[in-house]
């Protein structure tokens, strides 16, 4: 099977998953109790107004029709109106997505960057103290609730030490940099606003740590076990026999191979970060999509719930897809097995 065939097969496989997800979430959102229309219009609304808006939103139609309408709208960028913000859910999400992406991408980057050396050290020192330490640290990392870590960080670094800002993406009164990517770190550098860059970075620091600890732990353990597998392989033994320096063997050859298989987890980790950003964004009042999602859930804003869930689902599936692609590209055996 050629690489292109493999790509197409994988892509086709993703479509029914996303489609099915949309049906699932749509159904869940439609059993929400209470009258969403009355909620939207407020207590003073008359019955006629309620009926009119219900008809306008298509809520008087049977469920399959509602779903078809909704799907048709989604394709055209009309994701329905948020009952909380009165905006199109799509534009609400588009406006908030960059904040969430900035948080998750920065978190993933640092988690992986730190996980590599720790993982290598642990893997090449199997069953020695370095390994045990990394194991215990990792288990601690995945055991603490992220929202609680976030609060503890606030208590220590904001309340007690007064070193960092409590919440938000920028200090009050600091204007966002000119929008290019809408990632403040990038945009502020493009505009040469270093003050803004520093401000954005200090706001990112605590959320990143709170969100990233568990991911760092997971990726570190994975790299460790891959390193252990690699060590047993012939080429490593041969290289050692030739007297190549250990560091070179470890970081250049072994890590390269180990990293290939770790990619899967990095992809998954990205998906999980998206999923876990919810509570962390709430604690830090981070103006992202995840916070929007939680608010949607608390306010039973059903179009927004569907929208956010679909976006996260697509992010999840896409991350897996991209990982599979890279994986198939780097390791042709995968394609053959699938074929």
């Amino acid at each position: 099977m050629s690489y292109v065939d493999y790509l197409v097969r994988r892509a086709i496989h993703s479509v029914p998953v996303i489609f099915g997800l949309s049906v699932l979430i749509f159904l869940i959102s439609r059993v929400i109790p209470g009258d969403p229309v009355r909620l939207a219009l407020g207590p003073e609304a008359t019955d006629q107004q309620v009926a009119a808006l219900r008809a306008e939103m298509g809520l008087d139609q049977p469920l399959p029709m509602q779903y078809a309408d909704w799907l048709f709208g989604v394709v055209q960028g009309d994701w329905g109106m948020s009952l909380r913000t009165n905006n199109n859910v799509f534009s609400d999400i588009v406006a908030r997505l960059p904040a969430t992406l900035e948080l998750t991408v920065v978190t993933l980057f640092f988690a992986v960057l730190l996980a590599i050396p720790f993982g290598v050290v642990a893997g090449t020192n199997k069953d020695r103290w370095q390994d045990h330490l990394s194991r215990i640290t990792a288990l601690f990392g995945v055991s603490m609730p992220r929202f609680w870590v976030a609060i503890v960080l606030q208590i220590v670094f904001v309340v007690s030490l007064g070193l960092l800002p409590l919440s938000g993406r920028l200090s009050d009164g600091v204007a966002p940099p000119p929008a290019v990517t809408r990632l403040y770190l990038v945009d502020s550098l493009i505009a040469g606003q270093f003050g803004t860059f520093v401000d954005a970075a200090t706001h990112l620091l605590l959320p990143t740590v709170a969100l990233g600890l568990a991911t760092l732990a997971q990726v570190m353990r994975l790299i460790r076990s891959d390193m252990i597998d690699e060590q047993r392989k012939d080429y490593v033994l041969a290289a050692r026999a030739y007297g190549l320096p250990n560091t070179l063997i470890e970081y250049k050859y072994m890590l390269q191979n180990a990293f290939t298989s770790s990619l899967t987890v990095v992809g998954l980790a990205f998906g999980f970060l998206l999923g876990n950003a919810f509570l962390v964004e709430i604690v830090f009042a981070w103006p992202g999509m995840a916070r929007y999602g939680v608010q949607a859930i608390l306010y039973q804003d059903f179009n927004a719930i569907v929208g956010v869930t679909i976006v996260v689902g697509i992010g999840f599936v896409t991350a897996n897809f991209v990982v599979d692609l890279l994986y198939g590209y780097l390791d042709p055996r995968v394609r053959l097995e699938e074929g």
């Binding site: 029914p16 998953v17 996303i18 099915g20 997800l21 699932l24 979430i25 869940i28 959102s29 059993v31 929400i32 109790p33 194991r135 215990i136 288990l139 601690f140 995945v142 055991s143 603490m144 609730p145 929202f147 609680w148 609060i151 503890v152 606030q154 208590i155 904001v158 309340v159 987890v265 998954l268 998906g271 999980f272 998206l274 999923g275 876990n276 919810f278 509570l279 709430i282 604690v283 999602g293 939680v294 859930i297 608390l298 039973q300 719930i305 956010v308 869930t309 996260v312 689902g313 999840f316 599936v317």
Partner: protein
């Protein structure tokens, strides 16, 4: 079916059994040799004892129920109140103990439901194959494509906030991994000789399932379930942190943190101690799970 033909089969079976017992014994020694697992076991036993004996261990058991004690509100940790009191004067230590009950109970129930659903669907899919398999596994893929926390939040939003709904919602979001695992095992084992032979010998598929397939998936399920005990506690805490769980005065750990969050600037202990309790419980299960993983030699993410 003659006696002659059945003897080799019985032999194989008893041999397999002996082997399994040997493995278990070896496993127990490995587990016992793994200090972390023992620590984990001790932690969880402590937690279970604390949960069971909460009414006797808690210095102020009445603080877990309806009641307000404003004369001792927001007191820092002291000998009387080991973890301080909250803004309504309730002893946080007592509430944390009762919270352990709720967390363990919730996690246990959620996993029982999730594993039952997952294993059943996985068995059906793997065993029957064909269209049934495709349909079930596609649905499983859908559930795998969404973070369980998010799905559970959406379900609770739809069904209303309560401890029962939270359990249903998490179980609903949690079964997919088990279905995938069991289906995979069934597919690979189905091709194995001894299943083939047992089928050839005419034993029913129910019997095959229970005698041959389930024992093979017990190890990975045990490991995964142990780790999941902790992770379900985390997800449940997250939901009750958002106010989607049990309602006041129920002392769930997540809700206690949510309350303390308003006071990070003044009364740090209100949020900190329940969070430590969660970390303690999850860490305990992770230590055990990690040890079991080595013992049973299975790969579980």
């Amino acid at each position: 079916m003659s006696t002659k033909t059945s003897i080799p089969f019985l032999d194989t079976e008893s041999a397999a059994r002996k082997e399994r017992i040997r493995q278990l014994k070896r496993g127990f020694r490995t587990f016992a040799g793994n200090k972390l697992s023992l620590v984990g076991l001790a932690m969880i036993l402590t937690l279970v004892v604390a949960a069971l004996l909460a009414p006797y261990l808690a210095p102020f058991p009445e603080h877990a129920g309806a009641g307000v004690y404003f004369d001792q509100a927001s007191e820092p940790p002291s000998a009387t109140h080991l973890m301080g009191t909250d803004t309504t004067g309730r002893d946080i230590f007592s509430r944390v103990l009762f919270g352990a009950r709720l967390s363990l109970l919730m996690s246990g129930i959620v996993l029982s439901i999730a594993i039952s659903i997952g294993v059943t669907l996985g068995l059906i899919a793997g065993y029957l194959g064909g269209t049934t398999n495709t349909v079930i596994m596609r649905v499983t893929d859908i559930f795998l494509a969404i973070p369980p926390t998010l799905l559970a939040m959406a379900v609770v939003a739809a069904t209303g906030a309560s401890l029962f709904n939270v359990m249903v919602a998490i179980a609903f979001s949690w079964w997919s991994w088990y279905a995938r695992l069991v289906q995979g095992e069934v597919l690979s084992i189905k091709e194995d000789e001894f299943i083939e032979s047992s089928r050839a010998l005419g034993s029913g598929w129910v019997r095959t399932t229970f005698r041959e397939i389930l024992p093979n998936v017990v190890s990975p399920i045990t490991v995964k379930a142990t780790l999941d005990m902790g992770f379900v506690i985390l997800v449940g805490a997250g939901l009750s942190f958002l106010g989607l769980g049990a309602q006041p005065p129920t002392p769930t750990w997540g809700a206690m943190i949510a309350q303390g969050r308003n006071y990070v600037t003044s009364f740090w202990w209100i949020a900190v101690f329940p969070g430590l309790a969660i970390s303690f419980a999850v860490l305990g299960f992770n230590f055990i799970g990690d040890g079991l993983r080595d013992v049973l030699d299975v790969e579980v993410d």
